[in-house]
Symmetry: C2
Subunit: 387 residues, 2 copies
């Protein structure tokens, strides 16, 4: 068979995405079905990405996974959901008579190896890129194509949005089985080439409440979250899609800020309240509003996820000046290099630090890596080297 | 006439109140009509109060006012509203044939002198006590009795709640002229003698957005505020009144915390967002939840108004231990006495300070001061001494 001739090995990469209309709250915990639709921008993989290699072989005794060089427990329910669903889809395709499918692979166990090229400390949710990459790569190994975002969603909700490039909406869907809770590309990354995304990393004084348990508590206790999901987000999704369509930065930016603020407002309305914004976050927010007020137009916007780090949206022509302004108000740290890292600048304010991590553009969705040298697993199905 | 025999001079005191269901947002800016009802606890005047003396005399050329020892502009619209409305009510009573009214006084100008016995830096809204005291004292001078809270409301919204002691609700009312937007006592101060109120003063890094302009922006921009006012507060008012009625501390405390958090959530949902809670406020919030979790019951609650200071509600038996816990987590400041003040303890955390100002009980509403030595104005109608 063909699986004897060439090893069944595939390596892919997948991007991080930044939500501008926020996902917060599930209506179904197991299937990961959200209480509202959301919308994100996919970051270019030049700088941040997850790389995953999957090997399928009849010689493997069991499914195994290595994350960032360390073997992890494959029995994690969300990993199992992704493995089960990709295999289920592959069987369905075979039964539907798909000729391109090598059906032997369906009985093979897989070895998975995945690495992020960005530090967890960056505070960027790596699970979205990770599960998107896993599902995309597994699907290629099992010869499955087409809509995969509903499977990625079952690994990590926002992972479904990392299955596409550019501007991506995650439709909440209505069905109980979640089949219509899928991601769709709204515009490709080429649509708005002037858009830039800056990540400002604020050191967290302590680990904030995780998003899974945080959103669960919010759904249970916040009356404002229910109202937001039902009555505010639908209108904002439509407005946001229109603003992106006509590359209307001011509207895009203002909606982004308002939606970030409203998400954090629902966290504060949670009982007990959840605080993700630190005093540095608040200073960045105030700085952005002051900057825009100075110019009498909205040139810069911010958004914050479940942590203190700011993601800034602006246009290409404003990047140099805004970076100077940030540097002015958060002067470079002089002592030690603890907060600094390669390709980043470190600024100190009181006891708090702010790192400008990278300047991004919007980018494409997951990609297959053709160069066999990039495979993370060797022909023996084990990691080539510890990372 | 009688006004020739004894000088027409009255001195009264009025209390501060702390809202447990928050007022935020007006439906009529001029009449100060709120978008939702609210509920407060009146603090005992043992420790904090406003004292106001009003003298009416036909020899005065014009209305004048001295606040905390300094003459201020009497033409301030809110002062004018209170003067106009008390005089209007007095004329109405005279026309209705009230025999106790000395009608000559209606043509007299007044001199007003008012002092707070607490520093503005304490961050406790002094305007509520101030306008309550002004209206209460003016009414006595003009021989008016009965419902006065709708007039105090026109000086400062929350002043209407300082017109009564104990537990007080401000009914939002429905009428366009605001006649039914009045305060009512829910329970007298004697109803719950074990209740204690602690004020923890957190130094503000900068002056926060004022409540008048803040709530105006919130009404204009926050969809969550509208939902809160229409759909959340009515139920909470009923629950709170019931909890107070049966002295159910846990329910009272939890509703108080939830309502404070929701108010601050609507501030964050305002555009641009408003932050009143500092990192010290957040630490106090986390401490209270940790403390309650430790005991498996709600022994302590917090509420925050338009600033970083915490007001703590607890029961008498928990005060000593909770003060120790606060002292443990916010250790006493060793250097300098800048943050300390008489009758208060000062605690330093990082660059931020926390002062325990006072421990209060609920107390009565405005009172007439009988001792002539307490008058702030002399027989010449001028302040006795600069304060």
């Amino acid at each position: 068979t063909s699986s004897m001739e060439k090893p069944n090995i595939v390596t892919c990469t997948a991007p991080v995405n930044i939500a501008v209309i926020k996902y917060w709250g599930k209506r179904n915990e197991e299937l990961i079905l959200p209480i509202n639709s959301s919308l994100s921008v996919t970051l270019h993989q030049d700088q941040l990405k997850t790389t995953t290699t999957v090997v399928a072989s009849k010689s493997f005794q069991e499914d195994r996974i290595w994350l960032n060089g360390k073997e992890e427990d494959i029995s994690h329910p969300r990993l199992q959901s992704c493995l089960r669903e990709v295999r289920r889809l592959a069987r369905k395709r075979r039964n539907d008579g798909n000729p391109s499918l090598d059906s032997a692979v369906l009985s093979h166990k897989v070895h998975i190896c995945s690495v992020n090229n960005f530090p967890t400390a960056a505070g960027l949710a790596s699970s979205a890129a990770g599960f998107a990459c896993l599902v995309y790569t597994l699907a290629r190994v099992f010869g499955v194509e087409g809509e995969l975002s509903a499977i990625a969603r079952q690994g990590s909700g926002s992972a479904c949005r990392s299955m596409y490039g550019g501007f991506v909406q995650w439709l909440m869907g209505q069905k109980e089985d979640g089949k219509d809770s899928v991601a769709q590309q709204v515009e490709p990354e080429s649509h708005w080439p002037e858009l830039r995304i800056l990540v400002l990393v604020a050191s967290a004084e302590k680990k904030p409440v995780g998003s899974t348990s945080g959103m669960q508590t919010s759904v249970e206790t916040s009356a404002l979250l229910k109202h937001r999901a039902e009555s505010v987000v639908p209108g904002r999704m439509a407005e946001m899609i229109e603003a992106i369509g006509r590359r209307d930065f001011a509207t895009f930016a203002e909606l982004t800020m308002k939606d970030s603020n409203q998400f954090h407002a629902t966290c504060l309305d949670t009982y007990p309240p959840i605080f993700y914004l630190s005093s540095v976050s608040q200073q960045v927010i105030n700085l952005v509003h002051r900057y825009n007020r100075h110019y009498g137009e909205t040139r810069v916007s911010y958004t914050f996820d479940a942590g203190p780090n700011a993601v800034i949206f602006t246009l290409k022509q404003h990047v140099p000046e805004f970076l100077q302004v940030v540097q002015h108000f958060f002067p470079p740290e002089t002592n030690g290099g603890q907060g600094s890292r390669r390709k980043s600048f470190s600024f100190g304010i009181n006891q708090c630090f702010l790192n400008i991590l990278f300047v991004f553009q919007a980018g494409p969705g997951p990609c297959v890596v053709d160069d066999p040298a990039q495979h993370l697993l060797g022909s023996d199905g084990l990691p080539k080297r510890t990372v």
